[in-house]
Amino acid sequence: MAKLNLLQAINQALITAMTTNEKVVVFGEDVGHFGGVFRATSHLQEKFGKARCFNTPLTEQGIIGFANGLAAQGSVPVAEIQFGDYIFPAFDQIVNETAKFRYRSGGQFSCGTLTIRTPYGGGIAGGHYHSQSPEAFFSHIPGLKVVVPRDPYQAKGLLLGAIRDANPVLFLEPKRLYRASVCEVPEEDYAIPLGKAEVIQQGTDITLLAWGAQVEIVQRAADMALEDGVSCEVIDLRSILPWDAQCVADSVMKTGRLLINHEAPITSGFGSEIAARIQEQCFLYLEAPVTRVCGLDTPYPLAHEKEYMPDEFKTYEALKRLLNY
């Protein structure tokens, strides 16, 4: 098994997908010959030809509109949006078209084969136009699936899962892990099914929940807490929509406490849905309120990036407050 970084894992997943299904088509801004500004699509044009991997004009609404039509036709589009911050011109095509295509036609037509890949998140000195975490917007769109991997192994398996899932999937790639996260990734073809969270550390005192690049942050807070003798259960949510409420609820019914961490602004971030649901489902089990450690309700700053981030220290402090509630 080779050690790959997250970009390499994604590249490998794309190669596998294109090799095993000739209907898979990859496109977006600069993804062709150049292989994408992050190089996630390196060598695909070379290997599979220009018809199956190509540059598009610079229009996100066009990319997703085109992808919707291509998916409805029966091809399997994997469209890249260069940065999550630039997905908003395509918001109408996603909310009103991608997500409602099947429903409105009574199942006659659908965009089920579509996957949209886009890098998201901060920690790269990118300021508010290269750092946003837009998952909450997409979590309010019935018909769409939303997935976030935490490491290269997950990225390959979940991306193959997303491409082969019969529903349109938004696949959010934590860009600060692109080169920073490295782990063993099997050469072979494997897909991780969508919609399932993963308990990555068992514990009894409190449940820490995150996704994407923040999983490693809560993991670090759990390590700090361990030194105080606190046993944390750590969950990677993996799928934002539909999300695995049962897995989270089971954990909270055991630990009695839930701390959610995400980078996006706290107000109406996806943490709010989790908190709302879990306080209802686990009301009688909760020993403290469900708590969120999140980004501030501001655009993502540049000079104050470090201060803005819901880091392990903020998480650790919130965790202690919860335990002493």
């Binding site: 919707n68 039509g69 429903y103």
Partner: protein, 395 residues
């Protein structure tokens, strides 16, 4: 790596000469004049009697469907309707030039294309009464037809979204090696949307076999064309994208047919888009929610009534000896009763059972929607009188 030179063969000038609007003056293809007579130097398209009559029937059927359904809306039998009246030639004339394998992506005023493809009165009615026989399962407002078997993409209300989709669909057809293309209809109003720009440009750059057909009918609801754009219509834009373009008299079925035949030939053989701008006029109100007297004169409407595409086509058919007035009368009578019959039947059919409410959001119903459905069904059982359309089935 080629050495690229995006200046190509640009000519030089040393004069500060700003290009004024009006450089373009794109002429309009016309074969029949307003009276339905062939222009002296025009060439009739190759059109068999059979096909010509099929077109004529589709145009007449569309007109009658519209009349009947506008009335049905006034009677409160359906909630909404949107008529094609005055634009039948633009729609049917182009649809007739296609192969049945070609995908049709329409805006919402192209019921004539569906008629031409063989959509039945029952099918129209089931959609408009949102009953359980509607293939869209009663989920959309009246007139949002869709039929997979007829290669007619389900209509969606947001304007312009189908334009880049058509480019993508056509790209997929080409990739799959199909001898088929996509036609994409839209209004001159929708052509102001960003999606229009994206769709035409992408189709041109990515060599998609797609026909873009703009019905320039002078209005977007109350907004006249001169408040919609300042250029030479929509055709002049096609040229900017490097897209082959033709403007036709949209009230002349022969001109529209000829242009579309040619467009289809080019689009398929070159794998490239073609833009057709059909100049026409929306004789109808925008929809049954609209009253055009607030923004245009009767006088203006009258002028356009004289250019009626159906009357024009009829004259031509009569002159050719392919049609008789008795035939028209019989056909009209038959269609009228067929439509009315279908309406009465569809009206009686129940809506889909409540189970359906969470279907087709995903390929299968996920846990949270199962939960929501169960709770809803239990609630309806508790309050059957409050949900009369769906309570029965659960009792």
């Amino acid at each position: 790596m080629n050495d690229r030179n995006h200046l190509g063969n640009v000519a030089l000038t040393h004069d500060v000469r700003i290009i004024e609007n009006g450089l373009l003056d794109i002429p309009m293809l016309a074969i029949l004049d307003h009276e339905g007579q062939l222009y002296p130097d025009a060439i009739e398209p190759e059109l068999s009697k059979e096909q010509a009559l099929k077109m004529y029937h589709a145009m007449v059927y569309t007109r009658m469907l519209d009349e009947r359904m506008v009335a049905a809306q006034r009677q409160g039998r359906i909630s909404f309707y949107l008529a094609c009246t005055g634009e039948e030639a633009a729609v049917v004339g182009s649809a007739a030039a296609l192969s049945d394998n070609d995908m049709i992506m329409s805006q919402y005023r192209e019921q004539g294309a569906l008629v031409y493809r063989g959509y039945t009165s029952a099918q129209f009615m089931n959609q408009m009464f949102s009953n359980r026989l509607d293939p869209n399962k009663g989920r959309q407002m009246p007139i949002h037809y869709g039929d997979k078997a007829l290669n007619f993409m389900t209509i969606s209300s947001p304007l312009g979204t189908q334009i880049p989709q058509a480019a993508g669909y056509a790209y997929g057809q080409k990739l799959a090696g199909q001898e088929a293309l996509t036609i994409c209809y839209f209004g001159e109003g929708a052509a102001s949307e960003g999606d229009f720009h994206a769709g035409l440009n992408m189709a041109a750059v990515l060599n998609c076999p797609v026909i873009f057909l703009c019905r320039n009918n002078g209005y977007a609801i109350s907004t006249p064309a001169e408040e919609q754009f300042a250029g030479d219509g929509i055709a002049s834009r096609g040229i900017g994208y490097g897209v082959r373009t033709i403007r036709v008299d949209g009230n002349d079925p022969l001109a529209v047919f000829s242009a579309t035949v040619k467009a289809r030939e080019l689009a398929l053989s070159l794998s490239q888009p073609v833009l057709i701008e059909a100049m026409t006029y929306r004789l109808a109100a925008h929809s049954t929610s609209d009253d055009p007297s607030g923004y245009r004169s009767k006088n203006e409407e009258e002028k356009w009534r004289l250019k009626d595409p159906i009357a024009r086509f009829k004259t031509w058919l009569l002159n050719k000896g392919w049609l008789s007035n008795t035939h028209t009368d019989d056909y009209t009578k038959q269609v009228r009763s067929e439509i009315l019959q279908a309406l009465k039947e569809a009206e009686k059919v129940a809506i889909n059972p409540i189970d359906d409410i969470v279907e087709d959001v995903y390929d299968s119903v996920p846990w949270h929607l199962q939960e929501q459905r169960e709770a809803l069904i239990a609630h309806i059982k508790q309050y059957p009188k409050r949900y009369p359309k769906t309570a029965g089935e659960n009792n």
